[in-house]
Subunit: 187 residues, 2 copies
DNA sequence: CAAGTCCTTTGACAAATGTCAAAAAATCAA
DNA sequence: TTGATTTTTTGACATTTGTCAAAGGACTTG
């Protein structure tokens, strides 16, 4: 629970009571490499925190996988649209390595947020940060050439390049895996 | 203030007092077509609500305008990254038509959110909704062909196509304006 | 170790899109 | 209205990227 504690304490506002009731609802889950945390067309009932490991979110378009994001230790993850709307989502979330997670059920989170305003405050700030990150991702995705997008990823997220396959990275960067392979050959 | 009242009341949880203190901090602003709400490299001190009109956010890459979003009556708008971090941002926000807005200063919003937990609750839910919208935009931006991206915009946001120029729409859809013009010729 | 599977690279070619330039159309201002 | 300015369309061609196919490596498992 080291990483989770660290992440929540960074805000420095939660009372012992708040911390206690929050941790009480977070239960540990371990999933092996290659297994799925969330499958498309199901409703995401849990929000997860990644204690250790790496995961990938993707959906299918024309029978091809399109990677939306990679997530790491210290990140929260779920199918946001499904979790928030409490309806079926379009994402698959797959463990790229063995993962230690903590999960909290939608209902538990909602009741915590309603009853503990400090927690809602933190949740709000996290949402803001995730929003900004997503906005940055949208901007990077507009970089003109395939090579620019790859070099930017190499600079900002080398962990992704180390651990994901060429095909997964290519689908994240909006290019064919052959194109990515050729770009790598020139560097 | 019709649209703003409607938007806030949709949540149905704010007391008379909350509503009153919120509206008290929202001051009306009118800006003419072609003027700027926010310029790049400045800090966005205000969050705006669009009562009427339409605006465009964009930044520059290789001396070309890249459109990030179009916003309409009923939307909140600002340079989110700049407003949240309270540091210089990369976006320009330009009025595509005469606009009636309400603005709230960063400090006023923060103190409202700290003192009124119902307001923070609404703000949190709005953030969730904007997050999901952004995620959808990211997914649409990955549609493979230029024509698919255009047709999707035509289906989901015809107002954009009616009111923005070919160049602005093309930069939003990640294609050259010539390509967009040719796509339109075939429909 | 060998066979099988999966992932990555390379090649040849096709298709999509970008670029530059000019013409046509629309908009604006006097 | 008319001339000027801006926006959109069209054409010719270059470039980038995708697709299909095959070969080469790496990894797994019996």
């Amino acid at each position: 629970m080291k990483k989770l504690t660290e992440t929540v304490n960074r805000f420095n506002i939660l009372s012992e009571d708040s911390l206690h009731s929050f941790f009480a609802k977070m239960s540990p889950v371990k999933i092996p490499k290659g297994s799925f945390l969330i499958k498309e067309n199901t409703t995401a009932n849990y929000l997860y925190f990644i204690e250790s490991g790496m995961l990938r979110s993707y959906y299918f378009a024309n029978n091809k996988e399109v990677t939306i994001s990679f997530s790491f230790s210290g990140d929260f993850i779920t199918s946001m649209s499904s979790f928030i709307k409490q309806g079926p989502g379009y994402e698959n979330i797959e463990a790229l390595e063995d993962c230690e997670l903590y999960q909290i059920h939608y209902k538990d989170l909602q009741s915590l947020l309603e009853n503990d305003k400090d927690l809602e405050h933190i949740y709000r700030i996290l949402l803001e940060q995730y929003y900004i990150k997503l906005e940055e991702q949208l901007i990077f995705s507009k970089f003109k050439t395939a090579k620019e997008r790859y070099l930017n990823l190499l600079k900002d997220n080398p962990q992704i390049i180390q651990k994901a396959s060429v095909g997964q990275i290519a689908s994240f960067l909006d290019m064919s895996l052959e194109t990515l392979s050729r770009i790598r050959a020139t560097i």
